[in-house]
């Protein structure tokens, strides 16, 4: 009835998200401050979580969502830890 395959749609969306995540590498390499690089890596990690969820729907393997959940936790912990350690005795949160 519907000519559109929903799994291929998720794979195409994941491919676009991969391209947008690769574009974050420019700011991660060329960012003038440490916080610019950290922010770019944080956005890249969020894109990676979304890519993992889209692949879980597109490839029909739901255990990718566990990997995405752990990756989101580690991404948040990385952003908080590095932004706390770049400031001397700073309470950043």
């Amino acid at each position: 009835m519907i000519p559109l395959d929903i799994n291929e749609l998720f794979l195409v969306g994941a491919a676009i998200f991969v391209v947008l995540a690769i574009a974050m590498f420019y700011r991660a390499v060329a960012g003038p401050t440490t916080q610019d690089r950290l922010l770019a890596v944080n956005v890249l990690g969020t894109n990676t979580v979304v890519i993992l969820a889209l692949l879980a729907a597109g490839l029909d393997q739901p255990w990718f969502l566990d990997v995405a959940l752990i990756y989101a936790l580690l991404n948040f912990l990385m952003a908080i830890a590095i932004s706390k350690f770049t400031v001397e005795r700073g309470g950043v949160l």
Binding site: M1, I2, L4, I6, L9, F10, G13, I16, F17, L20, A23, M24, Y26, R27, G31, P32, T33, T34, Q35, D36, L38, L39, A40, N42, V43, T46, N47, V49, V50, A53, L54, A56, A57, P62, L65, D66, A68, L69, A72, L73, N75, F76, A79, I80, S83, K84, T86, V87, G90, V92, L93
Partner: protein, 143 residues
């Protein structure tokens, strides 16, 4: 009928998620300083990720995996602005001046201090950068 509506809702949510993530990527690449980039990373990227994860949760239907997806969606909604806030606050405590926007091109990072804390030497040769450096600093330009 209901199947067309279902697929249409998934397509619309996924397209909006890709669009907002594209806006976020352009903002992180193009905006002038770290505070503006933290702004676009906290708001637009959270909305794009949330819409794409909502499309995934709608496609998976009623099963255990969609519970994981909704949990992931709430987690991203809470932690992503918090992380951007912590990054912007650490930038403020390091003494990075916000971009004033008075003059100069937006591609130059206004008032930004590089990683070591020294002023940026190779950027002072750009024409839009005279507002931080004095005129005499161009005499020592290696070019």
């Amino acid at each position: 009928m209901i199947d067309t509506l279902y697929v249409g809702a998934i397509v619309v949510l996924l397209a909006l998620g890709v669009f907002f993530t594209f806006v976020s990527a352009m903002g992180v690449l193009r905006l002038p300083d770290v505070y503006a980039r933290a702004h676009t990373a906290s708001q637009t990227d959270t909305l794009g990720a949330g819409l794409a994860l909502a499309a995934v949760a709608l496609a998976l239907g009623w099963q255990q995996a969609s519970v994981y997806t909704v949990l992931l969606l709430f987690f991203v909604f809470i932690t992503n602005p918090t992380a951007a806030h912590a990054i912007a606050r650490s930038a403020a405590e390091m003494g990075i001046e916000p971009w004033s926007g008075a003059d100069g091109d937006p591609s130059s990072d206004g008032g930004a201090v590089p990683d070591g804390g020294e002023p940026i030497d190779e950027r002072s040769s750009e024409p839009g950068h005279e507002r931080e450096t004095t005129e005499g600093s161009h005499g020592g330009d290696p070019r």
